[in-house]
């Protein structure tokens, strides 16, 4: 009796969440099996696996998959490594530490679109960007980042966007590190590097796992930065899966193929999540 009441009370939110998930998923599955091009309305016949075949044999497909994974891996490595290093650096009190902390965390408050625009126009622009000015004042040829190193440019932008998140998590975690343990290590003959290597890094294992998992969710779906800055180009050089799907759906008006791509992205996300959680998840039980 009591149980059925609790279930009844929980039902609205559970049903809402279920519908929220089920409807788009089933519609995507449905679209992925029919011929659904916005340019040819009314010809929505069943085509089986053809949309998947089109998507997978698209010339940009494998590039997009590898770009997605390179982007994910690079940003994860950069944010975790730099995040741990910077957090450890600002852990000790020094004059102006609070200001430095705010500055380090502030990029997180900037929208991805604005972030991309800042990098595109203020930093990486080959004529009046800051990087170009630095190159010029050193007497070097300015680099056209977005055309010559498009994927690396995206990686830089996204890392800049996500580093504050990592720092935020690590700084908080470092505050809970036991000072007596560090002092004990000092008495045991450890120098600063030993303490960092043998105490701080293991202490951060769990926060690192959290950062990796949360960032993975968002980094698989990076879109705004690419859309605003490189537009996936030149060619497919900075196209990831999300952008390729967008390309199919809204530039080539082929909703069917885009839906197939969306399902493939879900599959990829699950594969990546499986390995990542296997790799870092064991830290969560420590």
């Amino acid at each position: 009796m009591k149980r059925s009441i609790t279930r009844l009370l929980m039902a609205p939110s559970v049903i809402l969440l279920l519908v929220w998930m089920i409807v788009p998923l089933s519609m995507t599955i449905y679209f992925s099996t029919i011929n659904y091009n916005l340019l040819y309305p009314g010809r929505n016949n069943f085509v089986g696996w053809m949309n998947f075949e089109f998507f997978v044999t698209d010339p940009g497909f494998w590039i997009a998959v590898s770009n997605t994974l390179i982007l994910l891996g690079s940003v994860l490595v950069i944010t975790v490594v730099l995040g741990v290093a910077l957090s450890a650096l600002i852990d000790k009190p020094f004059f102006g530490r609070n200001i430095v902390r705010v500055l380090l965390i502030s990029p997180f408050f900037i929208m991805p679109t604005v972030n991309a625009l800042i990098w595109k126009n203020m930093m990486m622009n080959p004529v009046y960007g800051i990087f170009a000015w630095i190159s010029n004042s050193l007497g070097l040829e300015p680099i056209d980042w977005l055309s010559n190193y498009p994927l690396m440019s995206i990686i830089i932008m996204v890392s800049w966007q996500w580093l504050p998140f990592a720092i935020l998590v690590f700084v908080t975690a470092l505050q809970s590190q036991d000072t007596e343990q560090k002092e004990a290590a000092q008495m045991d003959g450890a120098n600063g590097w030993h303490i960092f290597r043998y105490l701080t890094v293991p202490h951060l294992a769990r926060p690192i796992a959290v950062v990796v998992m949360i960032e993975t969710i968002f980094l698989l779906a990076v879109f705004a930065e690419i859309y605003v800055s490189t537009g996936g180009g030149p060619g497919y050089d900075s196209t990831n899966l999300a952008y390729l799907i967008y390309n199919q759906a809204l530039l080539q008006y082929d909703v069917g193929v885009a839906s197939a791509g969306g399902l493939f992205a879900v599959l990829l996300a699950n594969i990546v999540a499986f390995f990542l959680i296997r790799a870092v998840g064991k830290n969560l039980t420590v």
Partner: protein
């Protein structure tokens, strides 16, 4: 030249003077206990010796070497912390061998040392466990083992037993005493628990407000405290401090005047002038409730029965309360008027702060 010499040690925090000129000489193999109330500087002193706090004046010499400015890793000291500070992600074996591995000792030497230490502390079955899988007492032993394995010149203990429950504390106290006997290494131990201080120490250092009040063996401190502070700090229940009305010296006799009564006893000599408003210090076990011939009268307020003995709280006519230790079975009742007799040879006289007279000390011939 002593083994560990502390000379005029000072420690200033921003606007707080934590150590005010500490002078202390510790011999090799001694078990020294720093004891004092909270905030007296005992932990600061220990941490300054360890090098975890930098001193702002004075010197520390260990075994003929000035270590005042050395980093703690180079001082050849080992410390056991209050929270044990075990490395949580390392096994017991790794915790024990951490310092040796940092010192890049041979693996065979490390194994040998870890094995012998873990055997002596009954940790051999726990070597593969992580600290969180251990009980409080086991963690304590790992922390001690981690210190022993390095064979330091001095062990430092920072209130190591305060996180244990009462029964375990007594047991670990015994183990520590046994360990000190076995190793014979110099140990410095900080505690606020005077029972630990009295039972463990060769010599006790009593600190108060950043200064050393008195250094001595536990019995010395108990029998002839140099100051009122030490008298009140050592001993449970506290020493009775009774304000006298007057002190009169006539030839070879001292008369302590209290409430129309006079406690008289012969003296050979006294040290320094005796103030009129002297304070008489006398331990509860050196006062007795008697049928007749008592020195003073008082009214029983409360009797605390502890089983083997009882503490009788007595209010004197001038409203001072004193505690008298009595045998467990007495027929004294609350509210009764009783006579109290004082053991003459145990009386200590104080002025405002310091001891001015004590039979024991004067007879022994030193201050």
């Amino acid at each position: 030249m002593a083994y560990l010499n502390i000379t005029e040690l000072q420690k200033h925090y921003d606007n707080y003077h934590a150590l005010r000129g500490i002078n202390l000489a510790i011999e090799e193999g001694e078990f020294i206990v720093f004891v004092g109330p909270s905030g007296c500087g005992k932990s600061t002193l220990l941490r300054t010796i360890a090098g975890l706090e930098s001193s702002t004046g004075g010197t520390i010499e260990l075994d003929g070497r000035d270590i005042t400015e050395l980093s703690s890793s180079k001082r050849d000291l080992a410390m056991v912390f209050q929270s044990y500070a075990l490395y949580p992600h390392m096994t017991v074996a790794d915790n024990l061998s951490f310092a040796l591995r940092l010192a890049k000792e041979e693996q065979s030497v490390i194994d040998e040392k870890v094995k012998s230490v873990s055997a002596s502390l009954q940790l051999d079955k726990l070597l593969e466990r992580k600290p969180k899988e251990l009980s409080g007492g086991q963690r304590q032993r790992v922390a001690i083992g981690r210190a022993i394995v390095r064979q330091p010149k001095v062990f430092l203990f920072d209130e190591p037993l305060s996180n244990l429950d009462a029964a375990l504390r007594v047991q670990m106290r015994l183990e520590l005493a046994r360990l000190h006997k076995k190793l014979g290494t110099t140990m410095i131990y900080v505690t606020h628990d005077q029972v630990e201080a009295m039972t463990l120490a060769d010599r006790v250092v009593i600190l108060n407000a950043g200064q050393i009040e008195q250094v001595g063996t536990p019995l010395e401190l108990y029998r002839s405290p140099n100051s009122r502070f030490v008298a009140e700090f050592i001993g449970t229940p506290k020493m009775n401090l009774i304000e006298l009305d007057n002190v009169v010296r006539e030839a070879d006799t001292l008369h302590l005047k209290l409430l129309n009564a006079s406690i008289d006893f012969p003296v050979a000599r006294t040290h320094g002038p005796l103030p009129d408003n002297a304070i008489m210090g006398i331990r509860p076990e050196h006062m007795h409730i008697v049928e007749s011939d008592g020195d003073v009268m008082g009214k029983v307020e409360l009797i605390e029965h502890l089983g083997s003995e009882a503490y009788t709280h007595i209010r004197l006519a001038n409203d001072q309360t004193i505690i008298v230790k009595t045998s467990a079975r007495t027929n004294i009742k609350d509210g009764e008027e009783v006579q109290i007799r004082v053991d003459r040879e145990e009386i200590i006289l104080f002025n405002e702060n310091d001891r001015v007279f004590s039979v024991v000390a004067e007879e022994a011939g030193h201050e």
